[in-house]
């Protein structure tokens, strides 16, 4: 049985019907990970530990205590700390780090225990590759090498959650966790032909999630369908008193609307399930810089939503272009502060030769961090330094408020916003590494939702002439994840883009 083609919704049914055990599934995927090392999607596996978890899951099922996700394997982005697997965040700085605890997301998805009696019972397959400290859009900034795109190994998988996306696209994991600070779930999902959702800021606990830019970071799933993402997000989202930004009412069943019509619980007209839905297309998202084939695929996606009953209208997000400088001031500023903890004293890389504390800090950090991380720390220190703080940092925070307000104006005219995820399909490895600014500009459609804290998702909507996947982005108002997933699910009932498999993957 080729389980790697299956959604987790199908795996859940197969496990419940005793067609397969978690032990068999886990060993199946561990074997695929071992054989699929060419993608460089995983940074660490621990087969003995994964198998022990699978056995525990099978026992839970034998005792009649299984939930919908019990025994289903999941891969975690290496930004989540884990006991038993390395937790490097893609950095040499943390190459030998052993976490004394599990991140909240890892614990909550893993095996139930005294601390987490309601944990989902999923089996951890290992840790996925990523851009160092989640800084990057191509996964080429990993200290452990780039991830290759399963649709074309000469191309990038996207980033920063590139390992998670490649793992799912190559069938090495049925689903994976990711994090999104400026598009790091949505963009690799789009570039690898997958579905991914970044929930509203505050939905998912960031306890044990190695911090990049704390006012923007948020975790979410990357999977094969909106339904799969709804299931995983439901298990990932809960109130966690250990994260001061975790919302008190964050837990929710995000799958509750999936099979409903937009405007009524009963679907009176099955051919028009989205009747009553108003979809806004921001003119700025279809302006100069968007590849014509991507524009065509996203417009066709809008057409299909219209066929399903939705009304399409035009909206405006006037500060879209400014989201790039605003983000590349605020995120590095927060990063320069967050990454000051890496000083070579308590954990992390320490240089071999030093005479005093100052030299130890400087050499340890310079050896431990890669080029992009250093670049962002320098930008951050600069914009926070005396004389520049008002002009850069405060000005960026003020424009951030305007960007968030512009979304609210748009949501007065529509229920969701639709646009591209990225200006083009996956580019060739090495194509943009010499010019960091080119890489930053490619984040134009994803940054503004992080700045505003809104939920947004990536849904496969076609391919270009070279058979590279294209993703469309659905942006919703705060806490509308279940509605976004409903729209995406209805779209995926009428299309099969999300089910296509790369020919390189067998």
């Amino acid at each position: 049985m080729s389980w790697h083609m299956s959604t987790i919704a199908l795996l859940s049914k197969a496990l419940a019907a005793k067609q397969v055990s978690s032990r068999e599934l886990t060993s199946y995927f561990l074997e695929r990970i071992a054989k699929g090392s060419r993608w460089n999607a995983f940074l660490d596996v621990n087969p003995a530990l994964s198998m022990a978890q699978a056995d525990a899951a099978d026992e839970i099922r034998a005792n009649g205590l299984a939930g919908p996700l019990t025994g289903i394997p999941v891969a975690h982005k290496d930004v989540f700390v884990t006991q038993g697997w390395h937790s490097t965040a893609g950095s040499k700085m943390l190459s030998n780090y052993q976490s004394p605890f599990d991140a909240a997301v890892v614990a909550h998805l893993g095996m139930p225990d005294e601390q987490n009696p309601t944990a989902a019972g999923m089996v951890c397959l290992g840790k996925t590759n990523m851009d160092e400290f989640a800084m990057g859009s191509s996964n080429e900034n990993s200290a452990f090498g780039a991830v290759l795109n399963p649709w074309n190994p000469a191309c990038v998988a996207g980033g920063s959650s590139g390992g998670s996306a490649a793992a799912v696209a190559a069938g090495l994991a049925p689903i994976a966790t990711g994090t999104d600070t400026g598009g790091s779930i949505r963009q690799p999902a789009a570039l690898c032909g997958l579905t991914g959702i970044k929930p509203s800021y505050g939905r998912v606990s960031r306890y044990g999630m190695i911090a990049y830019a704390s006012s923007l970071d948020q975790a979410g799933p990357i999977g094969k369908s909106a339904e799969d993402c709804a299931w995983l997000l439901s298990a990932m989202s809960f109130h966690d008193p250990r994260d001061s930004t975790s919302l008190a009412d964050s837990g929710e069943n995000f799958a509750r609307y999936l099979s409903q019509a937009w405007s009524e619980p009963q679907m009176r007209n099955p051919t028009k399930p989205l009747s009553g839905l108003k979809v806004g297309l921001p003119t700025e998202f279809f302006a100069e810089g968007l590849a014509p084939e991507v524009a065509k695929a996203v417009e066709a996606g809008a057409q299909l939503l219209a066929q399903l009953g939705a009304t399409i209208c035009s909206v405006t997000l006037p500060k879209t272009k400014l989201s790039i400088p605003v983000y590349y001031v605020l995120a590095p500023a927060e990063a320069s502060s967050n990454l000051s903890r890496f000083d070579g004293v308590r954990y992390g890389h320490r240089t071999a030769q030093y005479t005093d504390l100052q030299e130890m800090y400087k050499k340890s950090r310079s050896e431990g961090f890669g080029a992009e991380v250093k670049r962002r720390i320098l930008i951050g220190s600069y914009v926070l330094s005396h004389g520049y703080y008002d002009a850069y940092y405060l000005q960026a925070q003020k424009i951030r408020r305007i960007i968030a307000a512009d979304f609210q104006t748009a949501f007065n005219q529509c229920d969701v916003i639709l646009g591209p995820v990225a200006p083009d399909v996956a580019w060739r490895l090495g194509e943009k590494t010499e010019d960091p600014l080119q890489m930053y500009l490619a984040d134009i459609y994803t940054l503004s939702t992080n700045l505003a804290g809104l939920p947004a998702m990536s849904v496969p909507c076609g391919f270009n002439q070279n058979n590279m996947p294209i993703g469309m982005q659905l942006i919703g108002n705060y806490f509308s994840e279940a509605r976004l997933l409903q729209i995406a699910h209805q779209y995926q009932q009428a299309t099969d883009w999300h089910l296509r498999q790369p020919s390189e993957v067998t």
């Binding site: 030998n96 400014l322 400088p325 320069s336 308590r346 600069y382 408020r401 804290g453 705060y478």
Partner: protein, 97 residues
């Protein structure tokens, strides 16, 4: 931005950059700050800075927990990744002469 400024912020960042590294990074930073300069054209008078999306969304009281011991002693496991240690303490170069 000039070369001596790159070295100044490198020091503030506790990063060591060789002269050739600093020279290589300067044009990249200049290009990024040329883009950042576009922000200056925006009229933000009367606009409050937004540090955090939740603050935009709702007035959120900073949650407080009861001030009590919740963790058991984890010293051994917490020090497992320390680069240098002795008798349960982190070792650093001498700071005071």
């Amino acid at each position: 931005m000039k070369l001596d400024e790159v070295q100044r912020i490198a020091h503030l960042s506790r990063l060591e950059l060789s002269d050739s590294e600093a020279k290589a990074i300067l044009p990249q930073l200049q290009a990024i700050f040329a883009l950042v300069a576009e922000m200056q054209a925006v009229d933000t008078s009367g606009c409050e800075p937004m540090a955090h999306p939740i603050l935009f969304l709702r007035d959120l009281a900073q949650p407080l927990r009861v001030d009590q011991v919740s963790e058991t002693d984890q010293r051994t496991v917490n020090m497992r990744s320390a680069p240098a240690q002795e008798d349960g303490y982190f070792l650093v170069p001498r700071v005071l002469e």
